[in-house]
Symmetry: C2
DNA sequence: AACATCATATGATCCAAATCATAAAACTTT
DNA sequence: AAAGTTTTATGATTTGGATCATATGATGTT
């Protein structure tokens, strides 16, 4: 995918190192930009009236967050660093002005969001699959199994134990084959 | 939310009645537009090499689908009617030309997608909540409980039985109150 | 080289949600 | 008014995934 943010002026983004617990923005603060995670993790959360926190998103490497801030006066949640690392802050003013002057950027940004919508929908359908085995199959078909079994498991709301067992059972069923330690692939 | 599609020329969309099993488009067909469901349900699915189908999305009343077709030459999945009803087909050519000539439309469309991304992320985090009771609480806080308990249950991947029991337990815990038959609301 | 950490892997046990069953109230439809 | 359907509701039972425990190979650090 073409990266629309490369079309922004060179000084539109700023690198920010973050420590555990650092707050990038708070709910109701005026919006100043969107972010891209380079390393680490940022958790977006909203505090309810009584005090308990609702996690809205956890952004990890290469993930954008607060895209909607471009269209809003205030951030609608808090952004807290939960794994130390680095983020790129992308200036709202620059995004807006570039959107108005550069149709390529505007279209690229819109496409990027459209593709994300597509992926999230597919992901939500995958999470609706009741059986661990079938969910693992769907996830592998969707190309989710690019790294470790543990990471795959977390992504599809399974424990790593259940995920290993699903792989094992699927191999016994002949629907997958073990190609090495922690390596499984679909048959057919 | 402002409805960007109201900015399209009057003849940009076309109403289509659909019966169960009707196919609105097939994978690899050239893209001609995106759709809005008026009534009924359209399932987007991709057929894998062996033959079994992977559901990517089920669009219901007021839901848009195939937004990414605007940026793609071919549909990347099949769209099949699974509950009879009616859809509005929105012409790709008109969307593209309006995006290029009307900044308000372009911005509105982008915002619409950004808000959807936001919602889907929050939804995915909600589905990661292990306990039925906590998931129900999060769903109610997010404003999901606007209709029936059964509908809420389906949205958050619970059976209606488990959802009723969660409500009951939460009332016993004093975290919710029953305000009538099938009516529950948060305390605090 | 020694040590720590992480991913892989599987066995044993537990438990919460699914499933199955039933029923009454509410609401459609005929 | 009767019949059918949907929603609400809860009890009994089952089961699949979570949890807990353990171990080994791989990787990374001092």
């Amino acid at each position: 995918m073409l990266e629309p943010f490369s079309l922004l002026p060179p000084n539109a983004s700023r690198s920010i190192d973050m420590e555990d617990g650092d707050i990038l923005f708070r709910q109701d603060q005026p919006t100043s930009g969107l972010y891209r995670v380079v390393t680490g993790c940022v958790t977006l959360q909203r505090s309810s009236l009584n005090g308990d926190k609702l996690t809205l998103h956890r952004a990890i490497a290469d993930g954008l967050f607060a895209e909607a801030s471009i269209f809003s006066d205030k951030y609608h949640c808090d952004a807290v660093c939960t794994v130390p690392g680095r983020v790129l802050k992308i200036s709202k003013a620059d995004v807006i002005s570039t959107m108005r002057t550069n149709p390529g950027f505007s279209e690229g940004f819109t496409r990027l969001l459209a593709v994300q919508v597509q992926r999230y929908r597919a992901h939500i359908e995958m999470l609706a699959i009741g059986s661990a085995k079938e969910r693992v199959i769907a996830a592998v078909q969707a190309g989710y199994f690019d790294a470790t079994v543990t990471e795959l498991a977390t992504r599809i709301n399974l424990t790593h134990e259940s995920c290993y067992r699903a792989f094992k059972d699927l191999c016994e069923d002949g629907r997958m084959i073990r190609t090495g330690r922690g390596r499984y692939q679909l048959t057919t």
